[in-house]
Every structure is written in C-alpha cells, then in structure tokens.
Symmetry: none
Subunit: 210 residues, 4 copies
Amino acid sequence: MAQDPIRQQRAAARRNQILDGAARVFAEKGFHRASTREIARAAGVSEGTIYNYFDSKAGLVVGLMTRLAEVESLGDELSDTMPGDIREFFVATFRRRFARLASQEKLFRAVLPEVLVDPELRETFHQQYVLRIAGLLEQYLQAQVAAGRMRPVDVPLAVRSLQGMFVGLLVLRIFGDETTRQGWDDLPEVLATLILDGLRLPREDEEVAQ
Amino acid sequence: MAQDPIRQQRAAARRNQILDGAARVFAEKGFHRASTREIARAAGVSEGTIYNYFDSKAGLVVGLMTRLAEVESLGDELSDTMPGDIREFFVATFRRRFARLASQEKLFRAVLPEVLVDPELRETFHQQYVLRIAGLLEQYLQAQVAAGRMRPVDVPLAVRSLQGMFVGLLVLRIFGDETTRQGWDDLPEVLATLILDGLRLPREDEEVAQ
Amino acid sequence: MAQDPIRQQRAAARRNQILDGAARVFAEKGFHRASTREIARAAGVSEGTIYNYFDSKAGLVVGLMTRLAEVESLGDELSDTMPGDIREFFVATFRRRFARLASQEKLFRAVLPEVLVDPELRETFHQQYVLRIAGLLEQYLQAQVAAGRMRPVDVPLAVRSLQGMFVGLLVLRIFGDETTRQGWDDLPEVLATLILDGLRLPREDEEVAQ
Amino acid sequence: MAQDPIRQQRAAARRNQILDGAARVFAEKGFHRASTREIARAAGVSEGTIYNYFDSKAGLVVGLMTRLAEVESLGDELSDTMPGDIREFFVATFRRRFARLASQEKLFRAVLPEVLVDPELRETFHQQYVLRIAGLLEQYLQAQVAAGRMRPVDVPLAVRSLQGMFVGLLVLRIFGDETTRQGWDDLPEVLATLILDGLRLPREDEEVAQ
DNA sequence: CATGAATGAGCCTTCATTCAT
DNA sequence: AATGAATGAAGGCTCATTCAT
C-alpha cells in the first residue's frame, strides 16, 4: 500500500518523540528514578503508547544509544579536517569531541550508569559506540605511523587511551570537578600537547628522546 | 568501662561484614537491582542489622567508597618510588594503579553508576577520591616542572587528563572491550610513552614543537 | 469527548468503593492496625489502585472525613424544624444529631484517633466539621438571644459547649459506657431540659436567678 | 529480707521514670509514632529496661492511665468546696477540672486515640476514670435533687452529659479550636449558667417552665 | 537488674507492564 | 494506533521485642 512509507514516517516521528521525552527525564533523574509515567508525560504520549514502540524501559536506553550513534558522523569529523598539520588536526578534533560530550553530559550521566550495569546494553554500546570510533581513530593513527609522522606505538592501545581520556574527563566533569569544568575549553590544547609532544623535557646534557 | 573498645571493635567488624556483603551483591547486580534482603543474606545478618550500622541503602555505597579511600595509600605509592628516572616512576606508578583498578573492577562497576547519579555520593566521591589523588599528582608534576624536567603545561588539567585516562580505561574495561582488557598489562608502558614522549615524531625538516 | 463524564462517574464510584472498604477496615481495626493490603481486599481492588485515587493512607481519612461532611446537610436539619417551640426544636435537632452520631460510631472510633494525632487532619476536620456546624448553631442561638427568648450568654462558647457535649457523649459511648449507651435515646430530652431550663430549682425564699 | 521495701521503692521510682519518658514522647508524637527507642532515651534507660517493668508498649498506656487516675483526688475536690452556694460550687469545680484538663491536654491527645482504639485500654480507662468520677458526681447531684435544690432529672444521664462536655471541650481544644482555647477560662462561668439556669428566658406571658 | 545489638515480620508505597476500550 | 486504569510484585525501611552479656 502507498501508505506504508507515510506510516513508517509517522512511526519514526513517534519513536523520536518518545526518545526525546525519555532523554529529558533520564537526564534529569537517571534511569532508575525516571518513571515511565513521567517519560510519557514528558513525551506527550500515554504510558501505553511507549510500549507500542519499545519493548521495555531498558529498550528506551537502547533506542537512545542507537540514535546517538546514528547521529555521530565521526567519519566526517575526521575527514573534514585537512590532514596537513597534525597538531591542528588533533586540536580541532578534540574540540569537536569535547563540545559534543559537554552538550550530551546530562544524557550521558543518565544513560552511562545503566549501560555500565546492564550486560546487554554494555555490549550494544560497546559495539555501536566504542568500536566504531576506535576503528576510525585506529585507521588515522595507523596511517600517521606508517607515514613516519608518529611514533610506532601500539596503535589500538593508544587509541583506547585516547578514548578513555575522553570518557574519563567526561566522568570527572559529571563528578562536578571544577578544574575539569572550567578548563574544558582549554583541554583540547593541553591534550594535544600531552599526546603529541609528551611531558618530558630533555635535560640539556641529554639527547632529545625520540 | 573496659568494654568500650571491645564494643567498638565488634561494631567495626560488623560494619565491614556488612560492607563485604554489600560489595558482593552490588558487584553482581548493581546498586538498584540489589535488594537489602539479599545484601543482608550475603552479609550473614538480618536486614534490620544493616540499618543499625548504615542510614540507608545509599549509605552502604558511601561506606564502600570511604573504605576504598581509606585503603588507598597513594602517598606511599608515589613516594615509594625512587624519583630517579621519570619514566620508571611513571611506569611503576601506572602499573600499581592499574592493578588496583583491575582488582576493584567489579566494585567500581557496581558503585560508579550510583555515584554518577546521586549528587551527594558524587560530591563525597569527588572529595575523597578525585581531589585527594589529584592533589598528590599535582604536587609531583609541579615539582618536575619546577625542576625543568617537564614541559610547563597546565598542571591541574594535565593531572585531570591522567586521572580521566585511568577512569576512562577502567570504563572501557567494564564495557568488556577486548583490546583494553588484553592490553591491560601493556598499558602502563604505552601510557608512559604517550604521556612522556608524545606521539609525534618530528620530521627532519621541522623544528621540534615545544 | 463524550467519555469525560462517564470517566468521572466511574472514578467517583471507585473512590467511594475504596472509601467504603477503608471505612470498614478502619472501623474494625483502627487506622494504624489497618493495612493497605486489607483495605484493598475489603474494597475489592488492588493495593496499587488505592494510590491511583488517594495520595496516601492518611488521604483515605481525609476522604472519609470529606465525604462525611458532604453528606451532612445540617442546614436542612436546622431549618427543617419549625422555629415555633424552642424546646421541640432542640429535642428534634438533638435527636437527629444523636441518631447520626450513633450510626457513625464505628467510623468515628476509627477516624477520630488519627484525626486527633495528625495535625493536618486535625485542621481539616476542624474546618470542615467543627466550624461549619458551629457557625450554623451560632446563627440560631444569636437569633434567639436577639429575640429575647434566650439568656444573653456568650454564644460562641455556649455553642462549643453543646458541640463538646455531642462529641464527648459519643466518646463515652465509644468507651462502652453502659449508662450512655442505654440512655442514648433519652439523652435528647435530658439535654434539652439541662440546656434550656438548667438544673437549679429556685428555693421558695429566693429570687429566680437570671 | 529487709531490702524488700527498698527494692520496691526503687522499682516504683524506675516505673515512674519510664512513664515520665513515655508521657513526654507520647504527648509529642502520639502513641504509634512514638518508638520504644525514643521513649527509652527520653526516660534515660535502655529499651530492654522498659520491658522489665512493662509488658509491652501498650502497657505503658495502661500505666499512664492508672497513674493519672491515682493522682486524681476528685473526692477532695468535691468535698473541699463549701456546699453552701451551688453556683459557686459548680464554678469552682469546673475551674479545677478545666485547669487539670488543660494541663494534661498533650497527654490526653496522645493517649486518648489509643484508648479509643484498643478494647482493653478502653475498658480500663472507663472503669478507672469515667465511672469513678461519674460515681462521685452522681452522689452529689442526687443529694441536691433529694434536697429539692435541683430539678429531678435523670441523674446518671445528666452526669454523663457533664462528663461528656468536659471530654468534648477538651477534644475541641485539641482540634485547635480558637474559640474554645481562648475562652477556656471563661468556660466555667458559662457552663455554670448553662447547666444551672439554662438558656431559656421565660416570656412574660408564659409560666416558668419547670 | 540493666543493657543495646540483633531480629524479621510487616508496612506503605512505587512502578513497569498489560489490556479492555 | 492510542489510551490510562488496574495490577501486584517487590522494595526499602521501621520497630516492638528478645536475650546474651
């Protein structure tokens, strides 16, 4: 029938409408303290309707994560930047990631706990989020290493370290750490220096460690 | 009365007994899915007894965190190492932290979510854990910078980045990320390189970025 | 929508159904010894349903009180009687009040204790019950005093004394006092004499006290 | 043993100490919301000790009532007054009762509810309190009637009405009724007029109702 | 006699989920 | 497809009472 695409569109709109409500309530109260009643109210639908689009309350989290991952167009981010200057690339990328993270802080704060606890969600999130981004970063780093522009480190682990740093700094932010929060905009620069140049300064009587 | 110290000792033992039970159940099921009944059973006491020692279920998390922080003798860790070689120091310190984190993975997985969600817990954890460790690290880094052995970065932010990396890598571990999990023992070395020397290799026709 | 009034009617019916159950159990066991589970069973609904219609267990008492007050059409009672003969008016009014009180004895026995203890309930009951009836009685007495048919006493206090007597006699009844219980039907007459004519007989050698 | 009387005295002192604590806590929170722990603390003893002197929490109420009744020396009150002037006697007696009631308001508020609800307490209270006072009042009234100084009403019912009025006015006071509370000191006079002379004023063209 | 830690039954309330309309 | 009333299991927590010390 010709109505199919229309229906699908309407259904997708409803889904999103519900997810928006869920995101709002989850962000404010956390997963467990958010009731389906409140989510329904926030989404402007009835409780029953939620269950027409999602299997369960946990299904809402899956939906949110999936949507999060769909929206992430990391590939673009990475390729958007001219690969010319490494530092500029790093800083720009970091800056974008940090802006993203900050804007989703509340949602992360709400969803992360449940993701940490629920094995299935954990798996989904890991696949759709961690591995996807890791893959892209690995490609980039690998290329740099191959080109002799970067130290031949264990690329996957280095990437994990980077990702970890992002996640961890977000966690610190969530903890309310003032230093992290106020320095958020400076972090891309600091990180770039840290990651690219390292902390160590060669003593004068030493050779530059390469 | 001579019984006072005995009383206190017995009370402390009970507290720990209860916390052990709580840790076990929290680790297995997470905070919200763990019922006080189950915790009581795991601890070998009655439900009522729990409330003779803790204000509420959330109080158990506070207790666990506090105990965690008490056990942490980071000061020793830092000073134990000869400050001779910076890299050795970093690697050794990282190794110890990573061992610690890994051994407490389950507990973290159980407690972290609730800490993220509950504002009061967040504050407590931040004070007792994040800031305490941050302070020690800052001292160390600052000294190195002052001695001209390290690049004059924004020390507090650099420290947060380090801490974030620890936390974040633990989170990746919790996500079940195979790369992180299998590379756990190699991470201290990778991180040391990353943090101390940086990724970038100077091209021959370039100046050393500072 | 045309369903709204139907909905409302059904909801009102449910409310009453629940209140009936609550009244039954409260009357039998008193407020505190009545469990919501038992109330639910007595009302023929689930425990959860109670909370769809009332905020809390205490809310049931409020509901009962309100319903009690709504049913009371004291105004009619007062005006129904011909104002012709004062004594007849008193006796008739008393008789009606006493019949009312007796029929609600159990409910009062169940609700009064909680009303006495809970400040909020106390206030509500005072407003909806005591003051409403007091106002009507005051009007009546005031009119009689103004007409010179009654002694110019402190009307509000006299009314409180009357109300107190009703309440107090009900309490004695609840205590199981046999004299009160068996004399219940005679009390209107006795009270009328007491209140209208007083106990004192003038000695022959004295003036009539006024 | 010679210690018996000493022991008994000490035991009685403890009992009273506990009852004082109970009275304080009951008065503040009501019977059900008062915990034995709090009572113990208020009495300066341990929870266990309470159970060495009383069977149960309800036993405390029995104890309080009994002590209340013991302290009441109504006989003295009644005989203290010169039987000369009836009105003076009534006013003086009322005044004393009202002062008593007011001073015990809180305790009544706390104990009455439980007395109303618990059949056993009800019986005890009725015997020790209601009937004892009723008996004394009946004697007095009966004598007055016999002496031709009072109208030959149904004495027991009249007495119940009086008692009811006391109880009822106390209840109104407890409800927080401002009129009752502020007029408390005037009530003895108002009541005396009400009870002795009645409200009705004879019209000039009528005979004095007898 | 006094203590107070331990008990565990039982309570009120919440909430995800279902289903008749 | 939407609704929202009804459900009832489950949960955290309180507290009167006991008993070993």
